[in-house]
C-alpha cells in the first residue's frame, strides 16, 4: 500500500498530465449524454406510441442494449464498423456510450411522460389541438422537467462508463492511469489517484443535481 505522502507527491507531480485526459473524459461524457438524450427521447416517443411496430422497435432496441455489455458495444462500433465507416476513436466511444445510455434515458423519459396526468392530454385534445401538438407543447415540457434528476444520475453513470473507452486506446482518464502504472510498476498509486479524480467529479456533480432537484421541487404545485 503506498503511503499518503507518496500518493500526495505523485498526485501533484502528475497533475499536469491529467489535464488533457480529464477534458477528454468530460467531452466524451457530455457528447454521449447529449446524443443519448436525443436517442432516448426518440425511443421514448416510440414506446408511448399507439403503433405496435413503433413499440416493438423501441423494446427491441432497449432489450439489445441492456442485454449486452457496454465494452462489447464499444468494440463492435470501433472494430466492427471500422471497415464500413471509420468513426475514429472519439466518436466510436461517444456513439457507443450514447447508444448505450440512450436505452436508459428512453426509460427515464417514458416514465416521466407517463407520469403526466392524462387530463393534460385530454385538455389539449378538447381544445382542438392535435395529439402531436399537445405532446410537444404540453406534455413534453412538463415531462422534461421531471426527467432532470434521473438524467443527472445517468450523467454520473455515463461519466464512469466513459472509462471503458480506454480499451480502444483513447487517452482519457483511465487510460492515463494505466499508462503511468505500466511505466512505473507503481500500479496502486495511479489507480487510486484516478479513482480520486472520478470520485471528486461525481461528488461535485451529485451536489449540482441535488441543488437542481430542490429548485424544481419548489416550482411544483
Amino acid at each position: 500500500m503506498p503511503s499518503i505522502a507518496h500518493l500526495t507527491e505523485e498526485f501533484l507531480r502528475t497533475l499536469p498530465f491529467f489535464w488533457k485526459p480529464l477534458l477528454l473524459t468530460f467531452q466524451l461524457t457530455i457528447a454521449s449524454v447529449i446524443v443519448g438524450s436525443i436517442i432516448g427521447l426518440f425511443v421514448a416517443l416510440l414506446k408511448v406510441s399507439k403503433l405496435p411496430v413503433a413499440r416493438f422497435i423501441a423494446n427491441a432496441y432497449i432489450m439489445i442494449i441492456r442485454g449486452t455489455p457496454l465494452v462489447v458495444q464499444i468494440f463492435v462500433l470501433y472494430f466492427g464498423f471500422y471497415k464500413v465507416i471509420d468513426l475514429g476513436q472519439f466518436w466510436s466511444a461517444a456513439l457507443a456510450l450514447a447508444i448505450h445510455s440512450g436505452a436508459y434515458i428512453a426509460e427515464i423519459f417514458r416514465g416521466s411522460i407517463q407520469s403526466i396526468d392524462k387530463g393534460q392530454m385530454e385538455a389539449g385534445l378538447s381544445l382542438g389541438m392535435s395529439t402531436r401538438q399537445t405532446m410537444r407543447r404540453i406534455i413534453l415540457p412538463q415531462a422534461m422537467k421531471r426527467s432532470i434528476p434521473p438524467l443527472g444520475n445517468q450523467f454520473i453513470l455515463s461519466l464512469k462508463e466513459s472509462s471503458l473507452a480506454a480499451f480502444i486506446a483513447m487517452d482519457e482518464l483511465f487510460s492515463l492511469a494505466r499508462r503511468l502504472s505500466a511505466e512505473t510498476f507503481d500500479e496502486m498509486t495511479y489507480f487510486l489517484i484516478v479513482a480520486l479524480y472520478y470520485l471528486v467529479i461525481v461528488m461535485a456533480f451529485t451536489y449540482v443535481v441535488h441543488i437542481m432537484e430542490k429548485r424544481l421541487a419548489k416550482g411544483e404545485a
Partner: protein, 245 residues
C-alpha cells in the same frame, strides 16, 4: 314548444368499456342556445356521454351529428373539437404556463391565430370571468374556483359553438361553487349551447332548458326542469330525486 335549430344530435349511441356497457342506445337532441343538464347517479353514463360528444371516448355504435353533420372520428376530430369546448372536473390547466398563456395556447397553436389579437381576446375573456388581475399568475397560485373560471375562459378562446361541462364544481370547496356556477349562468344567458353534468340541482332548476335523467346507460326521462323536479314521470327519476333533494 318552439323548435330550435338543431346543434347536436346523438342517435342510438353505444359505448362499452371491456364487458361493461356504459351507454346503451342513448338518443339526445340539443337545439342551438339550449342548456341541457344531465343528472343521475354516478356510473349512470353521464360523463361518458359528453366525453363521446367531444370524442375523448370513441363510440362503439350509433351516430353523432354536430350542426346536422355526421362526425367521422377518423377525419374530423380536431375540427369538431375546436367547435366543442370542454370543461373538466379537475380543471386540467397547464401548470407550466401562466393563466394568459393557458388561454392563448390553443388559438395560437391549433388555429395559428394572430398573437396580438389572441392576447386581446384572452384578456377580454379573463375580464369576463373576473380574473383580469391573474393574467400573469401560474395555476398553482389560484383557488379551485379561479382555476375553473380560467378553464372556462380557455375553452371560450377557441370560440366554440357548444360547451360541455363534466361535473365542473364537484372538485371545489363548497364556498367556491357559486362563482363558477355564476360564470356558467352568464354564458347560458348569452345563448351558448351547453350540456352540463352536475349534481347542483338548484342550478339545474334555475338555468336548464331541459333536464335529462340518466340511469344505467340510458336517458330514461327528459323534460323541462319544473316538470322533472315537481312531477317526474318515471319511478326511478322520483327515487333518485328523493335521494338527492
Amino acid at each position: 314548444m318552439e323548435k330550435q335549430r338543431e346543434m347536436i344530435r346523438v342517435q342510438n349511441l353505444k359505448k362499452s368499456f371491456g364487458k361493461v356497457e356504459v351507454l346503451k342506445d342513448v338518443t339526445l337532441q340539443v337545439g342551438k342556445g339550449e342548456v341541457v343538464v344531465l343528472i343521475g347517479a354516478s356510473g349512470s353514463g353521464k360523463s361518458t356521454l359528453i366525453r363521446c360528444i367531444n370524442f375523448l371516448e370513441i363510440k362503439d355504435g350509433g351516430e353523432i351529428y354536430i350542426e346536422g353533420k355526421s362526425i367521422d372520428p377518423k377525419k374530423d376530430l380536431t375540427k369538431v373539437r375546436q367547435k366543442v369546448g370542454m370543461v373538466f372536473q379537475h380543471f386540467n390547466l397547464f401548470p407550466h404556463k401562466t393563466v394568459l398563456e393557458n388561454i392563448m395556447e390553443a388559438p395560437l397553436i391549433a388555429k395559428k391565430a394572430d398573437k396580438e389579437e389572441t392576447k386581446q381576446e384572452a384578456l377580454r375573456l379573463l375580464q369576463k370571468v373576473g380574473l383580469s388581475e391573474k393574467a400573469d399568475a401560474y395555476p398553482s397560485s389560484l383557488s379551485g374556483g379561479q382555476k375553473q373560471r380560467v378553464a372556462i375562459a380557455r375553452s371560450l378562446a377557441m370560440k366554440p359553438e357548444i360547451m360541455l361541462f363534466d361535473e365542473p364544481t364537484s372538485a371545489l370547496d363548497p364556498e367556491l361553487v357559486g362563482e363558477v356556477l355564476e360564470t356558467m349562468k352568464q354564458l347560458a344567458q348569452e345563448g351558448m349551447t351547453m350540456i352540463i353534468v352536475t349534481h347542483e340541482m338548484g342550478f339545474a332548476k334555475e338555468v336548464a332548458d331541459w333536464v335529462a335523467f340518466m340511469n344505467q346507460g340510458k336517458i330514461i326521462e327528459m323534460a323541462r326542469p319544473q316538470e322533472i323536479f315537481n312531477n317526474p314521470k318515471e319511478e326511478r327519476t322520483r327515487e333518485f330525486l328523493n335521494r338527492v333533494l
